[in-house]
């Protein structure tokens, strides 16, 4: 992030619904022009946080600052924030052009100015030909693009998007994701984006804040979250992962040796120093694993039995089973490794690809 003051500063935000903390001490800064995604499962507090920024929810504690000034006392319609909702929220009785012109109409702009801005915005979302249609005559994807145009027509500095693509099918979703990226680049608007789809988050965002139980589990770029997850939860939430149980033999700074249940010792990395004999979980990404015949000598390995191979087109996915009957997924495009079920194999991997986490009581997604 830039050295200058953040555009949005969320400080120690707390929101209780009755006795339940939906948002539990959330703090984050958003830079001007940044695309920041709140990623989490339903009930993780991401949408509630977004609604507090929009002004539709009052926080129980904490503050939201925009440009260094608290906006908690500012009504939603005076915050000059754009927002696209999960459901299609076009005004059903107005045409597409009237919908997009609405924010300018309530701002009492002249008709000429409104017409010009509407045309510009509809061209931006490539719906210029649909100006006279009613929302009911548009597809879901088109409706959300109109909603996007409506949210941007008054040039807000901040655009909030609450799972805007959740109701669309996969192909359409990917098209509109690209369109949102393009618009973000062209306009330089700051976007706060909520989704539960990690692939969408990785594809679109500059940074991702992973929400869990009302807290931010980790915030960082997609590569940060994937390569250096803060804990087992983030590791499990972003991308596919294999988890193994073990206890620490020895730990030195970020290097750690772990003994698995069958006695095998594996070396890996940790972000926090770990005490000897502490119970830990090891995480290895399926694509960082390789298979070799069991008589090969390799640096660091585990004896396994192949149970199933699935052809995925660009890759092969193998299910292997350890001596203590734990299933591990391996993804590789090494066709030579193909083998028939029941064969004994060696699973090998680099110690830098093994992440070791304290075995907290947090569930893995």
């Amino acid at each position: 992030m830039s050295a200058q003051a953040p555009l949005v500063n969320i400080r120690n935000l707390v929101k209780h619904f009755g006795s339940v903390a939906a948002v539990d001490d959330v703090s984050l800064q958003v830079g001007e022009g940044e695309f920041l995604t709140f990623l989490g499962s339903s009930g993780s507090g991401k949408t509630t946080t977004l609604f507090i920024v929009a002004g539709f929810e009052d926080p129980t504690a904490g503050d939201v600052e925009i440009d260094g000034r608290s906006v908690l006392s500012v009504k939603p319609n005076e915050r000059n924030i754009g927002m696209v909702f999960q459901r299609y929220t076009l005004f059903p009785h107005m045409t597409v052009a009237q919908n997009v012109g609405f924010p300018l109409m309530v701002r009492r702009r002249s008709k000429a100015e409104i017409d010009k801005a509407v045309k510009e915005m509809l061209d931006l979302v490539q719906l210029g030909a649909y100006a006279g249609r009613k929302p009911s005559e548009l597809s879901g994807g088109q409706q959300q693009r109109v909603a996007l145009a409506r949210a941007l027509v008054y040039k807000p500095r901040i655009l909030l998007m609450d799972e805007p693509l959740a109701a669309l099918d996969k192909r359409l979703r990917e098209d509109i994701q690209q369109e949102i990226r393009r618009i973000h680049r062209e306009l330089g608007v700051t976007i706060l984006y909520v989704t539960h789809d990690q692939e969408e988050a990785l594809r679109m965002s500059d940074r991702i804040a992973v929400f869990s139980h009302g807290k931010i589990a980790q915030i960082g770029s997609g590569a940060d979250l994937y390569e250096r997850p803060a804990d087992a939860f983030v590791a499990g939430f972003i991308g596919n992962s294999n988890f193994l149980q073990g206890s620490v033999v020895q730990s030195q700074q970020d290097q750690v040796a772990v003994r698995l249940d069958d006695g095998t010792v594996i070396r890996g990395n940790t972000r926090h120093p770990l005490a000897a004999n502490a119970r830990v979980r090891l995480m290895i990404r399926p694509e960082r694993l390789a298979l070799a015949p069991s008589n090969d000598q390799v640096d660091q390995s585990l004896d396994v039995t192949l149970s199933d191979t699935t052809y995925l087109g660009d890759m092969l996915q193998h299910e292997v089973v350890t001596a203590w009957q734990q299933r591990i997924t391996v993804r590789t495009n090494d066709r030579a490794a193909a083998s028939s079920a029941g064969n004994a194999l060696k699973l090998h991997f680099a110690s830098t690809d093994v992440m070791v986490f304290e075995d907290g009581n947090r569930a893995t997604a």
């Binding site: 929009a54 539709f56 009504k75 939603p76 319609n77 005076e78 915050r79 000059n80 924030i81 754009g82 927002m83 909702f85 999960q86 459901r87 299609y88 929220t89 076009l90 005004f91 059903p92 009785h93 107005m94 609405f102 924010p103 309530v106 701002r107 009613k134 009911s136 909603a147 409506r150 949210a151 008054y154 909030l160």
Partner: protein, 266 residues
């Protein structure tokens, strides 16, 4: 099969027969009155010995009929306006509010539909007599409003439930004030529901007989009350012509409604 006309076999002719007979049964009194109203026989002979418009002339030459029509229009129109004025905010509370006893309140608002009208009528009769309101415009309006309000609440609640509240929020985030959002977005979006509410409220009042009978005085009568008192004495053909006018009004309303529904269908 049983839900496919072509594959149902001979059984479908039984259904056709019942269908045609029922349609005739439903049309019979309506068509019969309309024909009778143009017949010249004082004794309601059918087929009539000749044709005439004198029964229609009789309505408009009798100030009691004209006055009762005028009273009905005034009452029904006032009831319609009040029914929307009370029903619209009530529907917002019922749909948007999250307070304990919301379902109970809903049930209370539609309860006048369940309580037999005769009971409401005598209860109100006793009530207005006590306050000397019998035979007044206010008594008619209050009585009719009780039975009109459920229609208003039901129509508006239904359309408001079909309207996503986040659309209103979208308007607010776009810069509209709460009032602007409601008047420019929410109300126009549910206008078909409000229109139905107004129509049904008007009709509920316009057609109300029982409450009218107990609210009326010899000097102030609605059209149905006038028809009722006349009917209890004899079956004059004038009633046929009044009824035919009412049937024509029904048809006009049906056509307007169908037209509006088609035009504003989402």
């Amino acid at each position: 099969m049983l839900l496919n006309l072509n594959r149902m076999g001979p059984g479908r002719y039984v259904l056709y027969g019942i269908g045609v007979l029922t349609a005739l049964f439903l049309l019979l009194p309506v068509a019969f009155i309309a024909a009778l109203s143009f017949g010249s026989s004082q004794w309601l002979q059918f087929p009539p010995p000749g044709w005439t418009l004198k029964w229609y002339a009789a309505i408009f030459n009798d100030p009691r009929w004209v006055e009762s029509i005028w009273t009905s229009v005034k009452v029904a129109f006032t009831v319609m306006v009040l029914s929307i004025a009370l029903g619209l905010p009530a529907a917002f509370a019922l749909v948007r509010g999250k307070f304990p006893g919301r379902t109970l309140l809903h049930a209370f608002f539609i309860s006048p539909m369940i309580v037999p009208v005769i009971i409401l009528a005598i209860a109100l009769y006793v009530f207005v007599l006590k306050f000397g309101l019998n035979g007044t415009f206010i008594a008619f309006v209050a009585a009719h409003l009780i039975v009109a309000l459920p229609f208003s609440v039901i129509c508006i609640v239904n359309s408001l439930e079909g309207f996503d509240e986040s659309t209103e929020k979208a308007a607010i985030v776009c810069g509209a004030t709460k009032a602007e959002a409601i008047f420019r977005v929410t109300l126009p979006a549910i206008r078909l529901g409000i229109f139905s509410a107004a129509l049904f409220s008007f009709l509920a009042s316009w057609d109300e007989v029982v409450l009218g009978i107990f609210m009326a005085s010899p000097t102030l009568q609605t059209l149905p009350v006038r028809m009722w008192t006349t009917l209890r004495q004899d079956l004059t053909p004038v009633i046929a012509s009044v009824s035919t006018l009412l049937i024509a009004l029904t048809i006009v309303i049906m056509i307007i409604t169908a037209f509006l529904r088609r035009r504003y269908a989402r």
